[in-house]
Symmetry: C2
Subunit: 220 residues, 2 copies
Amino acid sequence: MNTIAEENYLKAIYHLTYELETTDFVGTNNIANYLSVKPATATDMLKKLKEKSLINYEKYGKSSLTNEGKKLALEIIRKHRLWETFLCEKLGFNWEEVHEIAEQLEHIKSNKLIDRLDKFLNYPKTDPHGELIPNAEGYIDYQSKISVADMKLGFIYKITAVKEDSYEFLKLINNMGLNINKQIELKEVNIYDNSLQIKINNQSINISSHIAHKILIEQI
Amino acid sequence: MNTIAEENYLKAIYHLTYELETTDFVGTNNIANYLSVKPATATDMLKKLKEKSLINYEKYGKSSLTNEGKKLALEIIRKHRLWETFLCEKLGFNWEEVHEIAEQLEHIKSNKLIDRLDKFLNYPKTDPHGELIPNAEGYIDYQSKISVADMKLGFIYKITAVKEDSYEFLKLINNMGLNINKQIELKEVNIYDNSLQIKINNQSINISSHIAHKILIEQI
DNA sequence: TAATAAAGTTAGACTAATCTAACAAATAAT
DNA sequence: ATTATTTGTTAGATTAGTCTAACTTTATTA
């Protein structure tokens, strides 16, 4: 079993490598800065995590997660995002308020608890910020995150979900014929305003960039 | 803000004084034993809690909670019992499984969280074990816990709740005419088996001690 | 009431996580 | 390529919570 501090370092390394940086390795100062501790403190913890085979670390070198470390980091991120979803959907918090509380809840130790929570929330794929939630095996379904704005020419997609569920938004996309499971294809990007020409229902329609980002799709 | 260890000591002293013992003071060994730590460890913490004005403690003497300490202890107990209720009612845990998880959840810091949870659970008065849940001000409504078995001669009560909700149990008490809001009065205790003669609906009926403990009442 | 037992405290040590200050290595810049 | 800057490490100290071992106080009992 790992301490809360250890879990926070693993999570930090995960975010820095896979979400904020382009490289697969992160520096000690980087980690220290992210966690608001001094570099000396981070050095000590990196040694400890290397000892536990959770990270790759060499003196004066950059660090990276081992497979085991990555798996643990994803477990914590899963917990964090499921709790955030719970706080917003069930307890009515705004998504700006939930982060701090989820930072505490993510360290509760009980696999059964988190699996039951997942079920209670109906196995959500994304949290209230739109971030993907890893499943119990630590697998992230990146497919489920691409939106109409990410479509590439020459591929066919289908609409799977929307990111906003206000009545007004749903009415609009319904009027445009953009329904779940409909097939959709990119024809052209209008340089002028980044709006898209889309083929749907055998006709070409124009979708604003704003709307395009809110409609999730999957390649078929 | 207090540490998790401090909170656990306050809770331990509360339980030992108000729920397990008859006196208002508890010994150091008693506390240490309850928390599975050595007496020396407890001594150190007792000094610290005295310093923070959360307990009354004198060298070689017994300890007790100050008003502030008691208030904090009740806050933690409130959180513990609300989380237990959540785990059982919303996530489908059995009541034997929830204690360990609630021991962790009770230390999450956020008043807003616990008040929202309380609302989400519809302001429950007791947890799944039948223990009373203190309200946000630390007040425990002991009235709501007395059962038919606690009735005194010469007072009039009304039925407010039941502690078991199996179909069979509800059918039985319905057949006996014991419904919510009905007025009820004690006539006699049968020494033979501790069963009670009760006046209800203008007739005298016999209720076994077992059933009597499961029907909650309130004096009117 | 004096001896014994039980309860409680003190002193010194350990671990985890943090810090500051001094130092060392790696990278960038002239 | 030598210097300057940035990055990272080491050593020693601190705080919280715990331990063991030795000691003191209070309570019990013969």
